[in-house]
């Protein structure tokens, strides 16, 4: 009896204390403003940044009956703050709901700020905030981030999170833009051996006089598009060294980077390459990587040699010279030879570009290379960042052909024209 009344008391008291103390992080979903993207720009005053919030309106597009049909799908707020942590409260002077980073998808930094040596001080706040996920993508915009966010108005995917998600995912599949999450930025910066690639994007159009000769050797803004579509372009990468932007590479170079990189899977690279049978035309090919690259380090005095074997799976989708190589073994051999040579040349050129201009590799080369060292200290003493520009890099491409289009045979030109 006594025991029971004691138990009752204990249960009652714990219930009371729990109900008084609980609900620490409690916040209802509809009381939060969901930030999809954060834009960061330089401000005149040193130590300050301009923070732009891209806030999604949940009521648009998610439900038929919810109303809010006349509301815009997004809200953009730009303000000056010390960093993007404290700016949350400042933003609440304009935005009614609590600013939440739960849905934060992208971090957009203007090229101007990214090239600033102090940029690293600002970006590292992202590691402090609990809500910012390391999977957020890192975008560098040619113009001010605020302008980029303002001008980026997708016509069909009006909800901002959907547009950014799909845009980035597809861009990464085609290899036009790099896989650039925040985690990678911190990892590469801290390991201090490779260069980091961020997505390069813009809403500005760069007018070029000359006619466009390639489909992918371009940077964001250089693609000539007509029609009534959104004016944002996502192609190419911004190259970061030690937390500071040092240059940009084009879409084609980004694709090469992705092919040289084992940690990064591109599935669907459609590109064109010179037709070995007729100088006037180009062959459309689809490149994918079915097998992993192999890396080898041959340490020599002063100048180590690096060998990279890149197995490629190529499907050739066009035959503008109408040579019907698919049925001809000799021609296939010839095709393979010329493709290998052309691709190897591209790769080697890119590698020497990174060695001479960027002074570092953009394809996480240090990761497979670590295996070649017995201890971590050895690797650190080797100082990859310093050694790489002087290394002799040899890229061997081996090609395996897939199918040559759905219909491999083409009619003979002479017969058709007869």
């Amino acid at each position: 009896m006594k025991l029971r009344s004691k138990m009752m008391k204990v249960i009652f008291l714990t219930a009371v204390t729990l109900s008084l103390s609980g609900c620490w992080d409690h916040k209802e979903l509809d009381e939060k403003a969901y930030v999809i993207g954060i834009g960061l720009d330089k401000h005149k005053i040193e130590g300050k940044v301009k923070v732009t919030y891209l806030i999604a309106n949940p009521e648009v597009g998610s439900q038929q009956t919810a109303g809010g049909a006349n509301e815009p799908p997004q809200e953009i707020v730009t303000l000056v703050a010390d960093d993007f942590i404290s700016s949350r409260n400042t933003a609440n002077t304009i935005v009614a709901k609590e600013i939440s980073y739960d849905l934060l998808r992208v971090l957009i930094v203007s090229e101007e700020l990214a090239r600033d040596p102090d940029f690293i001080r600002i970006i590292y706040s992202a590691t402090k905030d609990r809500e910012i996920k390391r999977s957020a993508q890192f975008i560098v915009s040619r113009e001010n981030a605020a302008d980029f966010i303002k001008n980026n108005k997708p016509k069909i995917e009006t909800r901002p999170h959907k547009f950014l998600e799909l845009m980035i995912e597809r861009g990464q599949e085609t290899g036009m833009i790099p896989e650039a999450d925040l985690n990678g930025f911190f990892r590469v910066t801290e390991s201090d051996a490779d260069l980091y690639l961020a997505i390069y994007a813009t809403t500005e159009k760069i007018e070029k006089d000359e006619a466009q000769t390639t489909d992918d050797d371009l940077l964001a803004g250089e693609i000539q598009v007509e029609g009534t579509t959104n004016n944002a372009q996502f192609i190419g990468s911004a190259v970061f060294k030690e937390g500071q932007m040092i240059g940009r590479i084009t879409g084609e170079e980004t694709r090469i980077s992705s092919l040289l990189d084992n940690t990064w899977a591109t599935e669907d690279i459609l590109t064109a390459i010179k037709d070995p049978f007729d100088e006037r035309y180009k062959l459309s090919i689809r490149i994918s990587q079915k097998r992993e690259n192999k890396y080898k380090l041959i340490p020599e005095k002063g100048r180590p040699t690096i060998e990279i074997d890149v197995p490629l799976f190529i499907e050739v989708y066009s035959d503008p010279s109408m040579i019907n190589y698919a049925k001809n073994r000799e021609k296939v051999k010839e095709l393979k030879k010329s493709l290998t040579a052309a691709i190897e040349k591209n790769f080697t050129e890119f590698v020497s570009y990174t060695q001479q201009e960027l002074k570092g590799d953009t394809f996480d080369l240090s990761i497979p290379m670590r295996k070649e060292f017995a201890t971590l200290r050895e690797f650190r003493e080797f100082d990859w960042m310093k050694t790489y520009p002087d290394a002799k890099v040899k890229v061997n491409v081996s090609i395996r052909f897939g199918e040559f289009g759905r219909q491999s045979k083409l009619p003979k030109l002479e017969e058709v024209r007869d």
Partner: protein, 514 residues
Amino acid sequence: MLKEMLTLLKKQQKQASLSVDKLEGEQTSLKEKEFSRNLQGNLSILKHLYSIPDNKDIKLRELYLEGFNRQAALLFISTITDVKSIEENILKPLTENTSSDKKVKDIVAIQMVHEITLYKDAVKDINKGNALLILDGEPKAYIMDCPDFQSRAIEKPESEILIKGPKEAFNEKAVANISLLRKKIRNENLIVEAVEVSQRSHNDVFVLYIRGLANEKLIDNIKERLGSLDVNSIQNLSLLEEYIEERNYSLFPSILSTERPDRAASFLEDGYIVLLMDNSPDSLVLPATFWAFFHSPEDHYLRFFYGNFTRALRMTALFITIFTSAIYVAITTYHAEMIPPDLLLAIAASREKVPFPAVIEILIMELAFELIREAGLRVPSPIGPTIGIVGALILGQAAVEANIISPIVIIVVALGGLSSFAVSDLSLNFAVRLTRFLFILSAAMMGIYGMTAVFVGGLFYMVSIKSFGVPYLAPMSPNYKSSKDTIFRRLTKNETLRPGFLKTTDLQKKTTGE
């Protein structure tokens, strides 16, 4: 206040136990007497005991037996005896008999005839529907077996419905129920013992087990428990259940109740003990583990894959019932970052105009659902469908349109509610539905962390409780030798062992087929 209530309760219990010692108004002293040689004396005592002529259905027939040259009397309760049998098999042979050296036993055409000397026994047997014959000059009485209680016929089961399998169900007549079991187990070792459990109403409980299989200690334990009850009346098994179970305040049931004789029979064959009682259209199976409540006989009647598919479905349904609402509450209030963005925005949009926090919303709908369920159960059948329409349509639709409830909550609660019906056992169903509220509250207070804590605590509890000495989750945890019929079943031919936790005399129930 609680303390006062408890002391009051205890006092009541004390009073109750006192009154049982002497059953007032039961004329116990009269009953202890023996029959005398004087017929009129005997009759006057019986008249007094049965309040003749106030008691209208007690029939006393006095007659003169020519063959014996004696006065005699026949006493029976006409509503519970087979009157036709009395007429043809007792009265007729007795009156037509002319020889004086024949015994009563030899004259009447009745199955069983006992001779008794105590009024106590006479009363007991008459109350069971037997007829009593007294002859003048004999200090004893004859009990003739001819009971005929009214009851319904054997019908289809109503709460444990199967598509495939036998369609007989227990009814309120224990004799019929035992007959149904005997039909399935044709073995002389199937023992039917009767234990009287109440003093005034004299309710019998039939303890069924297979001698040579069931654990003797367990049988003794149960008989002892039944015999030690000190109650005036226990009408049926549902009431008895509470008297003999070990943990009355536990959320989980520890005795299985089934209305299917095929199920009861298969439990008997595995060495379990089955209790039957008049007035109960079901049987109690003990000891019962969690799996007994979770299983349905159809799992074995269906083919291997079909049966296991239903098991998987039922397990999923069980977890859906317990967790969906709680997970919704936890995620929307604490872990919003876990939800995919499209869904998160959709939930946020639908909640925009809802005035309550997610917990209250869920609790309102859960309560509404339970109300519809309870009301639908109690409502007279002609207006039953109306309740469904009013409940589902008006409550759900209108609540959403009035912005009291967000549509996603309707989905969540309806899913949980629907899944709860897949847990067919009534007791486990209640247990699951109640724990659901526990999880909702813990989720509202401490999110997924709170839910995990309660779940772990609940598991500890489930592992610790026992039903008649058998761990609740056996044979899974603790592990016992058995056919491993837990979440999934094995091929019937591979289920060769009786459950080890029952400590049956014979563990093997079939050869391994090798």
